[in-house]
């Protein structure tokens, strides 16, 4: 930690982890409901659990990104944050909005469109909150001593994410148009601007962890985000095949979304090559694991499993089945959850001064959560493929098919338990780090040097 204000990141990370834990609880409720045990129906019917599960996901990832940015930007701009107070105000208001939304979902208060369920009045608070963040970061960058590519890409990613939230707030009477613009938020986030955020965090971590020259890393960062937009913008078409939009989207969406995995492949290769080029071994082995892990798993979850159902001929059959849920889990985990874990794991020793960077608890947390998530993906995959075959190909009744695939949800629950054990170990490790310390300001290099490392 070079600047005192970087400390705010800690509170963003801690809040993100709390929301993640809640998200997992609601995931279990839905898993059991799919298995036939919907005993919670009166308290939290499936649609409530679902809205909570996915909204908490988005909110904790954003909280993680905000934390990451508050940690990275002072270092990239080489000055303290513009205002620490604004950062805390932003965190507290964000949590209030998040909690209000989650409580509201239990009382049938929502906007009722998948992933954008937050009720309209709260949307305005979200926008105001993000503007506050953009202002704080923007001022820090403007007043900063240097502009780095990593800093700019990160800032542009967050800025465009805020901008793209707006099309999701327009009302349409036509379901097709409604859906058309809903994807401007959902797709252009995860397969567009969020990749900028991920790429920038990845580049930052690689610069810090491998000691490879910044110019080389940032050059490839441009190539990756270039590939992202080249394929991802028109790739939006893979959501326009079957919603009442013109037929040409089948061709355009098919061709361009089929190229989207290239950006993720580039990300994976980028991580692996830079890792191999690193001359020195950074002592924070676990942060390195999460970093390379994220680069690789994002390719598997988003690139490979995305490609598996993105061609219109395949998507005709899998559209809106559990196959989509399979892809949704591993892609969000690999690309966005893991990169947040990576930056947290990197930052914690530097903020707290505790050298828990190669301990058993942290290593198990990494392996168990990843093993669990891969197994969950497998359970969704088997259930999804069986559903497509029985319901779509053979024309069996929906509920009859759901009965057939109930056993795979036992598999899901078991895998999710493994995953949750991993996450619990991460939480314990996080707790063991303790709070960030002011004495650590400017001491990061010494901490690393004590373990024989000298980096940027």
């Amino acid at each position: 930690m070079k600047f005192k204000s970087q400390k705010v990141a800690y509170w963003f990370f801690a809040s993100a982890l709390v929301l993640l834990s809640l998200q997992i609880i609601y995931g279990f409720i839905m898993g059991f409901a799919h298995m036939g045990y919907d005993g919670w129906h009166a308290v939290t019917p499936f649609n409530t659990s679902r809205a909570v599960h996915t909204n908490l996901l988005v909110v904790w990832l954003l909280t993680g990104f905000f934390g990451a940015t508050y940690f990275i930007i002072p270092e990239e701009a080489d000055r303290e944050l513009f205002s620490v107070k604004l950062a805390y105000i932003q965190l507290v208001t964000l949590m209030i909005v998040g909690v209000t939304a989650v409580v509201g979902f239990h009382f049938n208060w929502w906007e009722g469109r998948k992933i954008l369920e937050i009720p309209r009045p709260l949307d305005f608070f979200v926008v105001a909150n993000v503007l506050l963040f953009i202002f704080n970061i923007g001022m820090t960058v403007l007043k900063g001593k240097r502009f780095t590519t990593t800093g700019i890409v990160l800032f542009m990613g967050l800025f465009s994410a805020a901008l793209l939230y707006l099309p999701g707030m327009i009302d349409f009477d036509n379901q097709t148009i409604d859906s058309y613009f809903r994807w401007w938020v959902v797709h252009l986030w995860v397969e567009g601007v969020w990749e900028l955020i991920m790429g920038a965090i990845l580049a930052y971590l690689l610069i810090k962890l491998t000691g490879v020259d910044r110019e080389v890393i940032e050059k490839w960062l441009y190539v990756i985000v270039g590939l992202t937009f080249l394929s991802g913008i028109l790739g939006t078409g893979h959501h326009y095949y079957y919603i009442g939009a013109p037929k040409y989207w089948l061709a355009i969406g098919g061709i361009f979304s089929a190229m989207e995995p290239l950006a993720f492949l580039a990300m994976a290769l980028f991580g692996l090559f830079m890792y191999r080029r690193s001359e020195r071994n950074h002592p924070n082995v676990i942060a390195m694991l999460w970093t390379i892990g994220s680069a690789v798993m994002s390719f598997v979850g988003a690139g490979f499993l995305g490609f598996a159902h993105t061609l219109p001929q395949v998507n005709l059959w899998t559209h809106g089945t559990l196959v989509t849920a399979m892809h949704g889990h591993l892609s969000f985990w690999g690309a966005y959850a893991m990169i947040v874990f990576a930056i947290m794991t990197y930052a914690m020793p530097l903020m707290t001064g505790r050298k828990l960077w190669n301990n058993r608890m942290g290593l198990y947390a990494f392996w168990l959560s990843n093993l669990g998530m891969v197994a969950m993906t497998g359970a969704f995959a088997v259930a999804g493929i069986a559903q497509v075959y029985l319901e779509r190909r053979l024309g069996l009744d929906f509920l009859a098919v759901q009965k057939e695939i109930e056993p795979h949800f036992l598999g899901l629950i078991l895998a999710a338990t493994l995953f949750s054990v991993g996450i619990t170990m991460y939480l314990i490790n996080f707790y063991n780090f303790g709070l960030p310390k002011d004495e650590m300001v400017g001491k990061g290099d010494k901490l690393e040097a004590a373990s024989g490392f000298s980096g940027e």
């Binding site: 499936f46 469109r113 590519t149 190539v223 913008i233 326009y240 013109p246 779509r392 190909r393 929906f398």
Partner: protein, 233 residues
């Protein structure tokens, strides 16, 4: 080798170029959508139906146009599949129509709200979705019934329309239909017309606590149904 400024140029040109192309295609799509979706048929009732759909977040269990959650049936073609009459009864008390199954919330809809939802589903079902949902490759049930052949005597009276609307969701005939209630093949051998008439009028009065709900049937519906059922021998 590629330099950093070349890489930046690649990023900028790619992003700006494809964003412009995307905006152009969006304008064209907005021009074509009204025709493809029969926008002129979006009546006030359809709009109200959509608002009820959103207000209750039905998409958090169901999919529509293949978008939503994977817990409850895809509803794009629900009017074709179940018919208006059945959906009316169902929405009044979802759990009565699927006893002991996965639960749908009971919203206590008024007749007017149900009208709006049906108008909405009706409009949804007529949108040209480029071939979604796909037709099953081979219907298992049809395959089964053609195997068993027509050696079983079927019926002497034509099937009344109301049967397809209200009964097939729970009962099967020749292997085709729902499985909430027993198969009705040969039901004419088991019960006489009088019993069937009483049963259809109010199942609860015949067998207290039965899982078959009381359905909104007129006297002429009942006589058509009993004639049909007693012919199933």
């Amino acid at each position: 080798m590629l330099s950093k400024s070349q890489a930046r140029l690649f990023f900028l040109i790619g992003t700006v170029g494809f964003s412009l192309l995307f905006l152009f295609l969006t304008v064209d799509t907005m021009r074509q959508v009204p025709k493809q979706t029969n926008q002129d048929q979006i009546t006030e009732a359809v709009k109200r139906g959509k608002r009820i759909w959103e207000h209750n977040y039905c998409m958090g269990c169901h999919t529509i146009f293949g978008e939503g959650a994977y817990y409850a049936p895809e509803l794009t073609k629900v009017i074709d599949r179940r018919g208006e009459a059945w959906i009316r009864v169902f929405l009044k008390d979802p759990q009565a129509m699927y006893p002991g199954q996965r639960k749908m919330t009971n919203y206590d809809f008024s007749e007017g709200q149900i009208d709006d939802l049906i108008a909405y589903f009706d409009w949804i079902g007529k949108v040209d979705l480029n071939g979604f949902p796909p037709k099953p490759v081979k219907r298992l049930v049809q395959a089964a019934s053609s195997n068993s052949g027509s050696s079983f005597a079927t019926t002497t009276v034509d099937q009344p329309a109301i049967y397809g609307q209200l009964c097939t969701a729970c009962h099967s005939l020749q292997g085709s239909g729902g499985n909430v209630g027993p198969a009705l093949d040969g039901v004419g051998n088991r019960f006489d017309e009088e019993y069937l008439g009483k049963w259809l009028k109010d199942p609860q009065a015949v067998i207290a606590g039965t899982a078959m709900p009381k359905l909104p049937l007129s006297d002429s519906d009942i006589s058509a149904l009993t004639a049909f059922l007693s012919g199933l021998k």
